[in-house]
Symmetry: none
Subunit: 74 residues, 5 copies
Amino acid sequence: MDPVAFKYLGAGLACIGMGLAAMGVGNIFGNFLSGALRNPSAADSQFARAFIGAALAEGLGIFCLVVALVLLFT
Amino acid sequence: MDPVAFKYLGAGLACIGMGLAAMGVGNIFGNFLSGALRNPSAADSQFARAFIGAALAEGLGIFCLVVALVLLFT
Amino acid sequence: MDPVAFKYLGAGLACIGMGLAAMGVGNIFGNFLSGALRNPSAADSQFARAFIGAALAEGLGIFCLVVALVLLFT
Amino acid sequence: MDPVAFKYLGAGLACIGMGLAAMGVGNIFGNFLSGALRNPSAADSQFARAFIGAALAEGLGIFCLVVALVLLFT
Amino acid sequence: MDPVAFKYLGAGLACIGMGLAAMGVGNIFGNFLSGALRNPSAADSQFARAFIGAALAEGLGIFCLVVALVLLFT
């Protein structure tokens, strides 16, 4: 069996990690919106922090994409 | 079958761990934002602690990336 | 098939454990922040305990990393 | 195929158990902190019990590590 | 292929069960602590019951360890 076959399998598995990272991002923005709609006057000052948290979680998802692209194109 | 084939599979599995770490980061920031919007005056003093926790969880995700890169490029 | 091939697979599986440990750390800090923002005056005295708990959960994640590194480099 | 190959696979699977035990520890300390910040005066008397519970869950994680080390080094 | 190889695989899979049992223990103690801190005066009388529940869940985790050790050493 050709080793290249397992690259395709690995790229598919990496996408599961990407989806789980999206759940983390969704959790952050879901809680942000839930709180922002209860107290809209404070939402502007906290949105930057929501973005920092989302960037950290999104970053781990982007790393998964990098691993998947390395598996596909190298 | 070439052992190299399983490197690709292992790198894909490591990405699932990365995604799970992103869910941990999302849980921390989600709870932080939910509380910060309920009590914005206390948010500044607790943001540093949110970052400490996120760094611990993010660190475990980065270790997964390290394992994936070691599998891909060595 | 070379036994070395399964080392790569095992290292990938160990990363899933690392990610799950990150979820545990996220749960601890998430609940700490949620409570600390509701009652900021008590946060300082409980932060040390949050760290003890996070160290226990992080320790299990580091053990996963040790297993992954033993699989990769021995 | 060499039976030794499956030792590496088993050690990787044992790490998933380690991560799940870390989630249990995280759940105990998360709930403890959430309650301790709501009622800080009772936290000192309940911390010992949180530790007993965490030790039980952590113990199962350490047993997973023992199984993984037995698989790796014997 | 040697049947012994699958003993190692089975021991690794048994560890996943151990980790899931640790999650059950964590759920019991997490909810106990959450309630004990809300009503500390009743905690002493209920702690024995929390222990009975934790012992039942821990017992199933120990059975997983027994299965893993039987697979490894017989």
